[in-house]
């Protein structure tokens, strides 16, 4: 191997691809190495059953930074994000709660349960707008280091302090509540309709190993609200072709800018020479050299797997070992022979092209969590479902459908047995839960794909199957993500960088860590 690169990016997930594209745009010679045969990592679409495209892991998008779409001209490379604007919650008695893009329809729907809640909903949205606006600022900057005395760092901290102190008093208090409360408690200050609270609180537990009554989950609500405030680029959407459509568009942009991408190229080790990253060794023994290396994997892999411990200070080793990556979610993807018939939800595109949330009460969610706390998967899990083929007809053959079910909770470590033994039982629990609302479901299933946290780890390398490469808890965010002192995409090894969602500002299909990392790499001028 004689070719020498300016940068090697480990992992062809969407963040790795974003970093590659930005570096290539700056004229650098970039190589992306992806272990799998497909790109995208957690944002991948695969034809698991002939004719049916599964958005295998992630399924919806709201946080993808609009500047990335513009900078990389992703629309030219095939990106289309379709609106996904409603959520319906089927209820056990045959009723449902619907929230959607039409203000008054949503109002009337909530008012069927509580007139007060219908009114509170607007007020709540406005308050969350303020909160997201206050916090969004953080997501857009590179976190200053609070322990550093460099003028730039102190200036950054002062800017941040000033920003928060400028908030009106009420907003400041609400922000503190959001940072500390449980999502259910926080929402109960606003609403009285239990299934509404449950469904809204569900976005506070996604990807965490916490229940709706666990403190700290309110912040995750906000994290999920963040996509709502960018003016026209609002709320949740479904990427045409599934979330793999996003990764493919970014990959195409990166390639058109000159980046090279190799699949089925698993990196075994980062080569360090004289304390500086010099390249990587692939699993097959090939060595590839580069002036810099960036890893888009989680800290466990970035630091502990790919590097020799001797290159890392003890504190960092300790922090990374403590970094929480508890998996809590699984995925069940189905190929269906026809459109499922819902017992308690109005049939038809208007509702079925949105999200369908199986979250009938806060206690239901909390009980689902109880199972997982003691090492079992939820017998009656929380399920966030979409029917991608109702949004994008190319996802399944005409008249057939694909169903994507994000499922919580499923712990990484089971109290009894292994996931290889329990996988199908977990799938059955999901299908049985769904069948209560979709009586004809079982008859329609042509193929089912069940993914447990263990499978997520095995397939795309997310340690313990944590969907965000580490929990979104306050102790693991901002200048603490992934570890104090290493929140700026750098590592103790010169020329070795972090560019995945374990870095600030965290998980989800945002591209933000990948983009900010590229800027920091370029700033160092090593390549």
């Amino acid at each position: 191997m004689t070719k020498r690169y300016d940068a090697i990016i480990i992992g062809g997930g969407h963040n790795g691809l974003v970093t590659a594209a930005y570096l290539a745009r700056a004229g650098k010679k970039v190589l992306v190495l992806e272990q799998r045969h497909v790109l995208g990592g957690a944002a991948t679409t695969e034809e698991i059953y002939p004719g049916f495209k599964f958005t295998v892991f992630s399924y919806v998008v709201s946080l993808l930074r609009p500047e990335i779409i513009r900078d990389l001209e992703l629309t030219k490379h095939g990106l289309t994000i379709l609106p996904l604007e409603s959520t319906v919650t089927p209820l056990p008695g045959g009723d449902y709660i619907y929230r959607g893009p039409d203000h008054w329809k949503t109002y009337r729907n909530i008012a069927r349960f509580s007139q007060r809640d219908a009114e509170a909903y607007d007020e709540y949205s406005r308050m969350m707008y303020y909160m997201a606006k206050a916090v969004k600022y953080i997501l857009e900057i590179i976190p200053p280091d609070p322990t550093s005395l460099k003028p730039g760092e102190i200036g950054g901290l002062l800017d941040m302090a000033r920003h928060f102190l400028k908030l009106p008093e009420e907003q400041f208090y609400t922000l503190v509540k959001l940072m500390t409360m449980s999502s259910a408690d926080f929402l109960e200050e606003w609403f009285e309709t239990d299934p509404l609270i449950a469904t809204m609180s569900a976005s506070g537990i996604i990807g965490t190993f916490l229940g709706p009554r666990s403190p700290g989950t309110a912040y995750v609500l906000l994290h999920h609200y963040m996509g709502e405030i960018d003016g026209v680029f609002r709320a949740w959407g479904f990427a045409k072709g599934g979330t793999g459509g996003i990764s493919n568009a970014i990959a195409s942009a990166a390639q058109s800018l000159g980046a090279e991408i190799r699949t089925e190229a698993r990196v075994a080790e980062v080569i360090v020479k004289n304390g500086k990253a010099a390249g990587v060794t692939l699993e097959n023994g090939d060595e590839i050299y580069a002036k810099t290396v960036a890893s888009s994997l989680d800290p466990n892999l970035t630091f502990l797997e790919l590097l020799d411990e001797k290159h890392l200070p003890d504190e960092l080793l300790d922090d990374v070992r403590k970094y929480k990556t508890r998996g809590s979610s699984g995925k069940v993807n189905l190929a269906l022979d026809a459109l499922p018939e819902f017992k308690s939800v109005p049939q038809g595109r208007e509702v079925l092209r949105g999200a369908i949330s199986f979250s009938p009460s806060v206690n239901y969610l909390e009980r689902a969590y109880d199972d997982a706390k003691y090492g079992d998967f939820s017998r009656q899990p929380y399920i966030d479902m979409i029917l991608p083929s109702m949004i994008d007809p190319e996802m399944a053959p005409p008249g057939k459908h694909v169903m994507s079910c994000f499922v919580q909770y499923a712990p990484y470590e089971l109290r009894e047995g292994t996931w290889d033994d329990k996988r199908e039982a977990f799938g059955d629990a999901v299908i049985n839960t769904l069948s209560e609302h979709i009586p004809n479901l079982k008859k329609l299933i042509l193929h089912r794909q069940v993914l447990t946290p263990y499978d997520i780890e095995q397939q795309i390398g997310l340690s313990q199957g944590n969907i965000f490469q580490g929990e979104l808890s306050l102790s693991q965010l901002f200048f603490l993500r992934p570890a104090p002192g290493y929140a700026k995409y750098r590592t103790p090894v010169r020329g070795y960088y972090q560019c995945g969602s374990a870095a600030h500002p965290g998980g989800g299909i945002t591209g933000a860590p990948g983009r900010l990392a590229a800027f920091e790499i370029l700033k160092d001028g090593l390549l």
Binding site: D102, H103, W104, K105, Y107, R108, Q115, R116, A118, E119, A120, D122, E123, R126, Y129
Partner: protein
């Protein structure tokens, strides 16, 4: 997706224009027939029937009802007699207007309130720990505005017993037909003689049919929102989210307005109850308000001349226009026109707007922006009291 009002079945065949719009989640005709002007002149010349069911309606009752009403509304509710109605805004703690509407004193401790936006949660929260009940009766009642010089004559045919001749402006009374009772308020949004009729929703169609039947002999015409909007600008009546932004929806401080800034000082009684926002309004009254609500009369000859320059006759909005335009003085922007319309009855181009207090006085000339063939120009306009039309018949009471 708007839903029909209780009068929809009657409106549907009449809205030959196919012009509908959403109003608070309901489907409302903008016009019925080919010309909004016929409908406008029905209001000023004969009588118009306007479906105002989408208004929000609340009922406040219980031994603390008056206490609560006095806590919410800026007017002194103690001063309302039973059967009397007060137009009033209500404010947040900072004295900024949340909404405006009418408060009817039905009994010593029972009130009906109309509002433009949902307010149940606010009213209930303010009444926390009081002996009071607040109910949303919005869908329970349908409402028709019967407005125009012939309104009284028509109504007297509908219920010959109701004391309509002596019913003063902003008072209510009760009427009945053979089939159902209804409430009559001498109120409206047109600045003309007129009434609003409130009936249990199930009798809505029947009420419509009876009125339209009687109305035939009096020139009664169903009128849509286009005509209503023209009439309310002439009358100088505010429209929420057009002439001001509710404190509930404003996103930045500069979008907020106090009652003083909306020309509603006459509705604020600082000697009355301890209403919410009172302290802030006391301070504002002492220090002065930032903004002043004004009327504007565009200089017609100047308008003519800037259009003449491109060889066109003056082109102005026939229907009321809600796109704001800037107001200038000495080249600096001092405010904005928020509603404007060519007043057909006065042949004047008029507007409602807001200027920074102290920059211009009533009677003075300011400059306003007018677009002529894509080019933005300025002409002069006179600041006037924001009420362009107020006929005697609006308030007049007849003998016997």
């Amino acid at each position: 997706m708007p839903i029909p009002t209780p009068f929809h079945s009657r409106q549907l065949p009449l809205v030959t224009s196919q012009e509908w719009r959403e109003w608070s989640g309901y489907l409302a005709p903008i016009t019925y027939g080919p010309s909004y002007e016929y409908e406008y002149y029905a209001i000023r010349n004969a009588a118009a029937l306007i479906d105002v069911s989408p208004l929000f309606k609340y009922e406040i009752s219980g031994s603390d009802a008056t206490r609560l009403a006095n806590r919410i509304f800026t007017r002194n509710i103690e001063e309302l007699n039973i059967g009397q109605i007060g137009y009033t805004p209500w404010c947040d703690d900072h004295g900024k207007v949340i909404d405006d509407g009418t408060v009817w004193r039905l009994e010593e401790n029972r009130y009906r309130v109309t509002a433009a936006d949902p307010n149940l949660r606010w009213f209930q929260d303010v009444g926390y720990a009081m002996d009071v009940e607040v109910h949303d009766v919005s869908t329970q009642y349908a409402a028709l505005a019967l407005q125009g010089p012939q309104a009284r004559n028509i109504l007297m045919q509908l219920d010959q017993g109701a004391p309509l001749k002596s019913l003063p402006y902003y008072q209510l009374t009760y009427g009945e037909t053979r089939r159902f009772p209804f409430t009559i308020t001498r109120t409206g949004y047109t600045g003309d003689l007129g009434y609003e009729l409130w009936v249990e929703a199930q009798h809505a169609e029947c009420l419509w049919d009876q009125l339209m039947g009687i109305g035939q002999d009096y020139g009664l015409t169903p009128a849509g929102l286009a005509a209503l909007d023209m009439a309310r600008v002439e009358a100088g009546l505010l429209l929420i989210e057009v002439d001001y932004i509710s404190a509930n929806t404003a996103l930045i401080d500069s979008q907020l307005s106090s009652p003083y800034e909306l020309g509603l000082s006459w509705t604020v009684d600082l000697d009355g109850g301890e209403f919410i926002g009172k302290q802030a309004l006391i301070t504002e009254k002492r220090k002065g308000s930032d903004w002043t609500f004004v009327g504007l009369e565009f200089e017609w000859l100047e308008l003519e001349s800037i259009f003449k320059a491109v060889d066109l006759p003056p082109q102005v909005a026939g229907r009321a226009n809600r796109d704001p335009i800037p107001i200038y003085k000495w080249g600096e922007q001092i405010g904005q026109v928020t509603s404007r319309v060519f007043s057909p009855i006065q042949k004047k181009y008029i507007g409602l707007g807001t200027v920074e207090t102290g920059t211009a006085k009533l009677g003075e000339m300011v400059d306003v922006e007018v677009t002529v063939e894509y080019s933005r120009q300025r002409i002069r306009a006179k600041l006037v009291k924001p009420q362009f039309f107020s006929p005697k018949r609006k308030r007049a009471v007849l003998d016997d």
